[in-house]
Symmetry: C2
Subunit: 386 residues, 2 copies
């Protein structure tokens, strides 16, 4: 085994946002040397890595030159130059997850076709090379309203997705290649994080449930474990494992899924990295998702994925009426509640709906955690200083 | 309340060792700006704080100048210049724990006399201004063998302590002021960490037990909760609280105690900071000791101190036959065991018995954790690279 601990080994991370920042806690715990590349000098990772470089993650030369300095390269954001990762791999550099995996995932059309090929259950879909093609297919009745439109590339955090119910809804869409998906009436939106190391050892985390706000149709709570039947949870974990193995994925893969009215599990999409749906694991799991990602890409034995206690996660997003220097109103009030841990990502400026942090609520009794989470949501506000 | 989160508030930490390093994880979690002062440019804290300064913690001017740059000042080691802390307090700086508390604790003679005054149970003792005085007292039969000799100042990590059974044992002792303590036959060595915030809110952690190696007479395992009767645990927590309140202590206070054969609790000594006996809390407690220290000194509400799961902690110390560049032999083997987390402090050079890290073992079943801890001890070795 390579000696990673207090050695000259260097881990490179493309992206210096909150996911990288939380991963750095665990590199520090193990005293693993880290290099981080990010376009912003204000990146949350800047002060917690060994070497920080400012640069464009989509620029071929920047990524190649950065990658050559490290022993293993990973990323905390998908929007990186994949040609550069391929070049580095061709030079013998270890890149995890691989360039091939990332290329399949970056394009939603390719990703969906991959599921179809591998017989992974997913909502019915069609790929269209342009909006014009989509419009023609609708005109010929080869495709019908309502459906979900997704841009093949560039989508992130819910951007690049629209529900199309009638002709007028098409107006605002860009000309880009896209997929159109049948709308699935579902009971639950679920996610499973799969970890797979270089040697092929696989472990899944328990199924988590996204609880939506009844009116706003936004995820309000991520709940672990999901309040679903055991046989459904087992099916979801098995399908997530199949997705990870089909990709020959190394690292973490967050698999988002729908549980249909008939208890079918359909894969929605995946993220090849630590994921918002796994943040609860820092406080609730025997091994948190960031440590697990490190274990996987360094080919160390994977850690235990089960939970110590029930966990609920609430995102802290900028209030819609505030922009400017951030202030976490009532944070001291939520810190009074049992089992509550706020995580502040370190972004100095708030904007409407910007992800500024998250709060984890843990409790031996999950329903108690869920109640406290509601109190947390009522109290804390991400505003700007007046 | 002061706005600590993603603001211009500055926390200063005197000392940049492993305790500071682990505290920095939590300052990052809350995005609190940190300044660290340490004599070594190799200090583990160096890469994880906002501003690192190299300087002598015992030098008056260095500490005063450093303290003037921050809003709240704390320390992770007791060996700092207390006159400088007093000077800073006189200028209105917030120093927690206070200079007065630290002065009482730094001198073991003063500490013991304080316990006597406050009627805090402790082993019978006498303070001697010099070895000469001690020798005279023995000659006059005012003090008898056997006893425990402790240097009043400068002791650390078991240094400055000797068991004196007969005249010859006195030979190696320095001329310094000292205390002599009656030897107490005890069943258990226990510790309680007390947290107390600026407003006076107090919370104690569960009692932990130091399990000694049957032959080597060294602490092998720190176990939480201690395997003792409830009424003894309650007594220990009540006494620890009394100690903290007597000192009007702000921050964490680790209170080390003996449980006598008669189930009396005697206070041995205290440390006014996060402590080795609380490392288990990172994985096992609802609020880890480092976060709790921050909450206390920033006058935030204290977090829940109870445990999610049982915890056992094993220190990783340098093998007695190795010196040089460190190598953690078999670390990948212990990472295969369930609920095992190694913490590597980041010291590049190992020396016999140097504290290089620790390993926490957590499990819903404490006796299972204790068994796995034994496996961990058998496997891992801190050696130098050959």
């Amino acid at each position: 085994m390579h000696n990673y601990f207090s050695s000259d080994f260097k881990l490179g991370i493309l992206g210096g946002g909150q996911l990288g920042k939380m991963m750095l806690y665990d590199t520090r715990k193990y005293d693993i040397k880290t290099y981080v590349l990010d376009p912003s000098t204000e990146a949350p990772c800047k002060i917690a890595c060994d070497v920080f470089e400012q640069g464009d993650l989509m620029d071929f030369d920047t990524v190649v030159n950065f990658g050559r300095k490290v022993d293993v390269l990973t990323f905390e954001i998908e929007l990186v130059n994949v040609d550069a990762l391929e070049k580095l791999e061709s030079e013998g550099k270890k890149v995890y997850p691989s360039a091939a995996t990332l290329r399949k995932i970056q394009d939603k059309g390719v990703q969906k076709q991959f599921y179809a090929e591998k017989e992974i259950p997913t909502a019915d879909f069609n790929v269209f090379t342009s909006k014009t093609d989509l419009t023609k297919a609708i005109a010929k009745n080869e495709w019908q309203y309502p459906f979900v439109w997704k841009s093949c590339t560039g989508g992130y955090d819910g951007k690049g997705v629209s529900v199309i119910r009638k002709e007028e809804d098409l107006t605002g869409l860009p000309e880009a290649s896209c997929i159109a998906e049948k709308m699935i009436p579902f009971k639950n939106e679920l996610a499973v994080i799969v970890s797979r190391n270089v040697s092929g050892e696989v472990k899944t985390y328990p199924v988590v449930e996204m609880e939506f706000h009844p009116e706003a149709n936004q995820v309000e709570y991520v709940i672990c474990p999901a309040r679903i039947e055991n046989h459904v949870a087992e099916k979801a974990r098995a399908i997530a494992t199949k997705v990870s193995e089909s990709f020959e994925h190394v690292g973490l893969l967050a698999v988002e899924m729908f549980q249909t009215e008939e208890d079918e599990i359909l894969v929605n999409e995946v993220a090849p990295r630590p994921h918002n749906s796994g943040h609860y694991s820092i406080e609730a799991s025997f091994t948190n998702q960031f440590e697990q990602h490190l274990r996987a890409i360094l080919d160390l034995p994977l850690g235990e994925t089960e939970s110590k206690v029930g966990g609920v996660m609430v995102n802290l997003v900028g209030d819609e009426n505030h922009e400017g220097q951030v202030h976490y109103q009532n944070i001291e009030k939520i810190m009074q509640m049992p089992g509550v841990t706020p995580h502040i990502y370190g972004k100095k400026q708030t904007r409407p709906f910007r992800k500024m942090g998250h709060v984890t609520i843990v409790n031996k009794d999950l329903s108690e955690a869920r109640k406290i989470a509601e109190e947390v949501k009522k109290e804390i506000k991400v505003i700007s200083k007046s």
